[in-house]
Symmetry: C2
Subunit: 235 residues, 2 copies
DNA sequence: CAGTGGTCTAGACCACCGA
DNA sequence: CGGTGGTCTAGACCACTGG
């Protein structure tokens, strides 16, 4: 139980409530650090921390030499986390399983090679698997891996560790980019997910970078009726 | 041009590179604040700031009395921003337009009333519109608004201001939750978006709260071939 | 120029954890 | 109990903005 708010939290809530109540409109000036020091009888470092955190949260905008203003709040921004599917399933208390459909080493065609930062025809690892929650398919994963980033990738037992899990342990993540879209699965993937080819799916295309190498490119397809992303925002 | 890193940034990059290079594994101990003070010859507040920011970024975990450890990084987390569609289109340098299909006051059925925090049969505002980018439909918006939160909502000229924009100016945002899923549009919406009913769509269902009231419940449908979310992550 | 924010210091007190 | 992190202070110097 939290009995007492810290000084910097008091300053934050003071400013937040004035913004969320509409008393201070976007573009309005927020009291300066000196003014807030006097008002709350606290030191400048404490005021500074409160305002710095509010900046990070997107509530205010600060310009050195000019001042602090209420940010234009015409957006809803929240943390979206794409997690390891196995962890996610197990955290729900369900049983996770996977069906491995392909584990192979291939020569990369031009577009794929380029996206992995390799030469055309270079050797790449290729895996295809279906992830199951309580025996029901929830994700189709088609992944290409750069052998430079994870030389022993193909030796992994993918029924125990997901490809994503293995990659994260042997090739620490430095950058990632992803795209979320809606698509139809196509006949082959529909069959593997045990859905109709006319059922809409969510697809994530993700590219991960580890140090100097592009580690992996993966396309994850989720049946639209069995999966969705949820997010939350709090001022 | 940034010539010199601040002290707290030096500490952050020192720790980050050791994590992303794999030298420090998840669960490993990070040097204590006292150790980093000595190593960098800086004050504790500065070390503390570096570690506090790394905690916020999800790189490390801190437990008072116990210590700081490298976080389990089996997740990719990034900021997903859902913005006002008009701003988004105009920022791309394209022309925005909208077609207003419905502006009405209705009696709420039970599930809707509940979700808006009102009694069954209460008056609610209802709007339906299609948003166009360069004349092409990109979003179908079906929205219900709590009259308590925005009494003059129906008087707005929705060809100039989007409903979201109006709501944000008259009812400051305090909380929001959303769900992203894939779906088929259905015949009516497909016709309005000028797509085939068999084309997969992204749908966002969003609920916004302003102070004590639920302000609005909206369902936004995007043609899958014309829209996707992109995100990025950087360690 | 005065006012603003951005950073930093060298102390301090406290709450918590583990041995 | 010692070591840890969580917070806070009262100063300081600097870079930037605006009139």
């Amino acid at each position: 139980m939290k009995l007492q708010l810290f000084a910097y939290e008091q300053v934050k809530t003071f400013i937040k409530t004035r913004i969320t109540s509409g008393a201070w409109k976007p573009g309005d000036a927020v009291p300066s650090e000196a003014a807030l020091m006097a008002q709350f009888s606290i030191s400048r470092m404490t005021v500074n921390r409160a305002l710095r955190e509010l900046t990070a949260e997107g509530m205010v905008t600060r310009i050195q030499g000019s001042g602090t203003r209420v940010a234009e709040l015409h957006r809803i921004s929240s943390r979206l986390t794409i997690r390891d599917i196995k962890e996610e399933v197990e955290e729900r208390g369900h049983t996770y399983a996977s069906t491995v459909l392909l584990v192979a080493s291939e020569k990369a065609a031009a577009p794929l090679a380029k996206s992995l930062g390799l030469g055309t025809g270079s050797k790449v690892f290729h895996t295809v698997l279906v992830h199951l929650e309580n025996g029901i398919p929830i994700q189709h994963e088609d992944r290409y891996v750069n052998p430079m980033a994870a030389p022993d990738f193909l030796q992994t037992d993918f029924t125990c560790f997901t490809p994503a899990h293995h990659l994260l342990t042997c090739a620490p993540l430095t950058d990632a980019s992803y795209q979320i879209e809606a698509c139809l699965p196509g006949n082959e993937i529909a069959k593997r997910l045990r859905i109709k080819p006319s059922e809409a799916c969510l697809a994530i295309t993700r590219r991960t970078v580890s140090g100097a190498h592009v580690a992996s490119v993966a396309r994850l397809v989720y049946p639209g009726t069995r999966y969705s992303f949820a997010g939350q925002f709090q001022a």
